[in-house]
Point group: C2
Chain length 284, copies 2
């Protein structure tokens, strides 16, 4: 995971060095530095188990990290979650300003589509175009942005969300992009998507439950961002709806289904299984 | 142009009706309603003169309008140009709020890439992928966002921009997307891009000079947005650098070169020529 993180960093450095030396590009570099690189790793490992070209999977891996970074930069804006800290560092709008953060996020989204549309990503244009279409569906007004819109609406709703509504919200907000990452390798290899979709769906939900648990149990120093934000805001979370133990049990069950879904890949998928366990055991 | 505008409206209605009934989607519909549809028309007419399927050119035509709309919604934000009025109507952040405007713009950008990656746009994935790659290059950190970043930097610069710097800024901010629109038809038809690139480059610059002239001569009621903003802000414009008459002469010369570039298409390109003239003669 460390080597792949370094490869992702290097690829961003390479791509962004082709841009002009202006603050918005500095902010793009800053926003794509660090982080767990979970999505990039899912792309790589799904590519490997499906027999796709692992070296070239750096393109969709960086694309999904750019898209994820754009969503964080915009999510941290004062008019959205208003967060000052991300990955232990000042957020983009704090380090630069709101206008630069808006443009930085905009350009990172564009960069994601640029990277998966580049012929260096894959020789077959059908694959590149399908990657772009699926990424757009997973991240737009019926995917991630839809989840974020539900999240904003929930803040002013008079009745807290139900479990079903939270699952729908999280499927959009984080689940769709995690599933996209986990299935990218199958798309690159022209393989069937079903197995990895099952894995990705279970993993995505486990990830979000683990996030809610961390929000309760973690501290800001380890998280690198504010803790207890949801509880303080009185928002319904998996923990408030299932209880702390119930949430932990649910996350465990999801990790097991994620791992079970990979049975057809045998031991070759052990790193994907380890990733699923890492997602619920992480401390930040 | 009117019929095509109606077709664009209908296509947006069709596509957006597939999204959930939430404020961010209402804002997307609002932001893609109205406007001159210049870019959509350039896509259509370039498709027609190049012999591409005109009916299916509605996909890239809507894509570029969605991308243009995203840029306006974000550009109007309080932290950017802080505009309350657009096309004679309250801007998205005024009618809803800043968070909805950020998400609305984000999802409109995504929608643009979704529409040109859809197999309904073109049977050949090479064409779809090339459309996506070129759109990303024209609109990202080396294209439109680069131009916007230069524009923001110019606001606090101690020395006004030179003519050369303004041309670079405008090439990014508006020129790249206008050229993309004018060349989209050649991409759809698999034709050579050079002629339409020349036309688009000249048209894009003429368009921006005309905008600067309108900023001086127009009034808010006709423009549907605030007038004299640049002059009031003490920004260098084509008018401040070339004088009003000089700017008008330059725009005329550019329109002539745009029209001349189309000679190989003969009379078939008369609507593209009329569009170039419309761009400098418009009142809003």
């Amino acid at each position: 995971m460390k080597d792949w993180s370094a490869a992702v960093d290097q690829q961003f450095e390479h791509v962004l060095s082709g841009f002009a030396d202006v603050p918005v590009v500095h902010a793009m570099r800053y926003a794509t530095t660090g982080g767990k690189r979970l999505r990039a790793f899912l792309v790589r490992e799904s590519a490997r188990v499906c027999g796709a070209d692992v070296a070239r999977s750096i393109w969709p891996a960086c694309a999904i990290e750019a898209l994820h970074a754009y969503s964080l930069v915009h999510d941290d804006l004062p008019c959205m979650d208003d967060d000052d800290l991300r990955r232990g560092q000042p957020t983009v709008h704090v380090k630069w300003d709101d206008a630069t953060a808006v443009l930085c996020g905009d350009a990172l989204q564009t960069l994601a589509f640029e990277m998966i549309s580049d012929p260096l990503c894959h020789d077959d244009a059908e694959v590149r175009s399908a990657l772009a279409l699926s990424l757009a569906k997973a991240s737009g007004g019926a995917g991630m942005v839809y989840g974020q819109a539900l999240d904003i609406a929930a803040e002013t709703a008079e009745v807290p969300l139900t479990l079903e509504q939270i699952i729908e919200l999280q499927n959009g907000k984080t689940g769709a992009l995690i599933t996209w990452s986990a299935t990218a390798g199958a798309r690159l290899a022209g393989a069937d998507l079903r197995t990895l979709t099952q894995y990705g769906d279970a993993l995505g939900l486990a990830f979000q439950i683990a996030d809610d648990i961390l929000d309760v149990e973690g501290d800001a120093a380890t998280l690198g961002k504010a803790a207890q934000k949801d509880a303080d805001a009185g928002k319904a979370t998996f923990v408030s709806l299932l209880g702390l133990d119930g949430a932990k049990r649910r996350a465990e069950t999801l990790v097991e289904s994620a791992c079970d879904a990979l049975s057809s890949y045998g031991d070759d998928a052990n790193l994907l299984r380890a990733t699923a366990r890492f997602v619920v055991e992480r401390r930040s």
